[in-house]
């Protein structure tokens, strides 16, 4: 009843933002473009227009993605500056995933002897924090934590991966997934504490995210040196697959075994029914389609924070769509454009 006192204005704002998402007819126009300049011309009639209008030719696909991301960042910052607790904390949680990605990017790039400035330019703007450049001096995870991350929101997630082992490709991968697991679990607990419609809607969305991560980790680890125990430790401790599904996934050795595990769970039967046996190429698209369905449903209810999370994720999906369409147009492969575009409306 008192939601609108503190959250009413921003809920109205985010619903207004939602109405600016690209429609099926926008995507049809974009999919018929012959060049990136045509894409820019079509986007000039949308809310992305002001962000792309001053970009010089020739355009690159990365430029289109960067400018569209800038729009998302501006909208997010507008909402964050207007938000009060606990909505402001909720909005900050949305960016922790990008923060983890940026930390791993800097650490990996430094390991590969890349210039820090070059790496900073590739970081996601939503995941930036003040001392991020200092990550380049750390030699192991203990130093990473002590020198930089102790003063960031990621500090509590580091307790499970602090070792003195030197940073190498495998340790960095385990660190990435361990941090993300801890972040998801923390976000889940925070939403549960908020209660009400926020807890109900966010539980469903975050549980799906945890399950999808478990499947992706399993598929990506097939044929690698990651042991079954290490694999199991990277799965989140919640979600539909927890705990029995995780036990079965950890021992899978090919995509068909993963499919036989997932088909025991009715919500995932429809996803895997779209794939032929032995094939995993369309799995990402199937998962994204299911996620978009759940995110759109979040807007059917009022007076909860789930709409903010749903909007951010839908925009990110839209940016992924535009990235894919741009790549297909740039590579003259328009016949493949519908392989990965997920319509939102």
């Amino acid at each position: 009843m008192t939601f609108n006192i503190h959250g009413g204005y921003l809920e109205a704002i985010v619903r207004g933002y939602r109405s600016g998402l690209l429609t099926a007819s926008d995507y049809n126009n974009l999919c018929q473009c012959e060049t990136l300049e045509d894409i820019k011309m079509h986007l000039s009639a949308t809310e992305y227009g002001p962000y792309l209008q001053n970009e010089p030719s020739p355009l690159h696909t990365t430029t289109i993605v960067e400018k569209c991301t800038l729009k998302l960042v501006d909208e997010y910052k507008h909402m964050l500056t207007q938000a009060t607790e606990p909505l402001s904390t909720f909005l900050e949680y949305i960016t922790y995933g990008h923060m983890i990605d940026n930390v791993v990017l800097i650490v990996t790039g430094t390991l590969h002897e890349r210039d820090v400035q070059e790496l900073l330019e590739k970081c996601h703007p939503l995941g930036m924090f003040d001392s991020i450049a200092t990550l380049a001096v750390a030699q192991n995870m203990r130093e990473l934590y002590r020198l930089v991350l102790v003063d960031t929101p990621l500090a509590p997630y580091f307790s499970e991966c602090i070792t003195s082992e030197d940073l190498d490709d495998m340790n960095i991968e385990i660190m990435r997934n361990t941090l993300y697991k801890a972040y998801l679990e923390d976000f889940y607990r925070f939403c549960q504490k908020l209660g009400g419609a926020t807890a109900e809607i966010m539980s469903d969305i975050l549980a799906f995210e945890a399950d999808r991560r478990a499947v992706n980790i399993t598929i990506n680890s097939i044929g690698t040196e990651l042991t079954r125990d290490d694999c199991r430790k990277l799965y989140s401790n919640f979600g539909l697959l927890y705990p029995y599904g995780h036990e079965e996934l950890a021992v899978c050795e090919d995509i068909d075994q993963v499919r036989s595990v997932m088909e025991k769970y009715p919500p995932y039967q429809s996803i895997f029914s779209k794939l032929s046996y032995g094939e995993s190429q369309m799995l990402d698209k199937a998962f994204y389609e299911e996620e978009v369905k759940r995110l759109c449903l979040a807007f059917e209810q009022q007076f909860h924070y789930g709409v903010f999370f749903a909007y951010m994720r839908l925009r990110e999906q839209e940016i992924r769509n535009m990235m894919w369409i741009s790549e297909c147009v740039a590579q003259n492969q328009k016949s493949r454009v519908h392989d990965s575009v997920v319509f939102i409306f």
């Binding site: 990365t62 993605v65 990605d101 940026n102 791993v104 990017l105 990996t108 790039g109 590969h112 002897e113 890349r114 070059e118 790496l119 330019e121 590739k122 970081c123 996601h124 490709d169 495998m170 960095i172 991968e173 990435r176 997934n177 992706n216 980790i217 598929i219 990506n220 680890s221 044929g223 690698t224 040196e225 990651l226 995993s280 190429q281 990402d284 992924r320 990235m323 894919w324 790549e327 297909c328 590579q331 492969q333 493949r336 392989d339 990965s340």
Partner: protein, 213 residues
């Protein structure tokens, strides 16, 4: 009697010239098919790379993650010395794939393609004689366009080279790696085919010069 012998020699000379022309046309045919295959394999590889970036995210697949540390090349190209045995039909270039500096025994694989795969690309072209072109040998790939079966060491080298993008990478990135690996083999094959083509062209030119004298 002499005129019939001269006629026989002349007929043999004409058939040798025709054979040289056919060799040249065969070489051009093979070269064009290979170039077409190379183009489509590269297109496939680039699209798979874009698909991997779409799946894993731009922060995980980008050029700033390339490893600038010094490390030995995992694949090298060997140029065979033709001066030692100019009469023998040997490939000029040979690919040494996934050779690890830690392993004293190099993995030596010649980049070859099954003729059936090439012919799939263009059914309208005339069938070429396998015995005539010794550089092309049949093999059984796991799938269209994929390299020959490799042992565990080569698989490890493959994963090692992808590890700059992380240890847990999408199958799409691995597919992209296979496509570019196939394209590299094709490039070597194109080079060898071009050498044969130029040799056949020189032969035809010589025949034409002889005929005009």
């Amino acid at each position: 009697m002499e005129s019939s012998e001269n006629g026989r020699e002349s007929n043999e000379g004409i058939s040798v010239k025709e054979e040289n022309i056919l060799n040249f046309l065969d070489s051009v045919d093979g070269y064009l098919i290979l170039m077409d295959s190379l183009s489509s394999t590269l297109r496939q590889g680039w699209l798979e790379l874009a698909s991997a970036r779409h799946s894993m995210g731009a922060s995980r697949i980008n050029s700033t993650l390339f490893d600038l540390k010094l490390h030995p090349a995992s694949t090298t190209l060997q140029v065979n010395d033709q001066s030692a045995a100019p009469d023998r039909e040997l490939p000029h270039f040979t690919l040494c794939k996934w050779a690890s500096s830690n392993n004293p025994e190099k993995y030596f694989e010649e980049a070859k393609f099954g003729e059936d795969e090439l012919l799939k690309k263009s059914n309208s072209l005339r069938h070429r004689d396998i015995s005539h072109n010794s550089e092309i040998q049949a093999r059984s790939p796991e799938s269209v366009g994929s390299p020959v079966t490799v042992d565990d060491q080569a698989e490890k080298e493959r994963y090692k080279s992808l590890s700059m993008f992380g240890t847990l990478v999408s199958p799409k990135l691995r597919a992209s790696q296979l496509s570019f690996e196939t394209a590299l083999e094709m490039l070597v094959e194109v080079s060898n085919m071009r050498a044969s083509l130029l040799c056949a062209h020189d032969q035809v030119q010589k025949d034409m010069e002889t005929a005009t004298k």
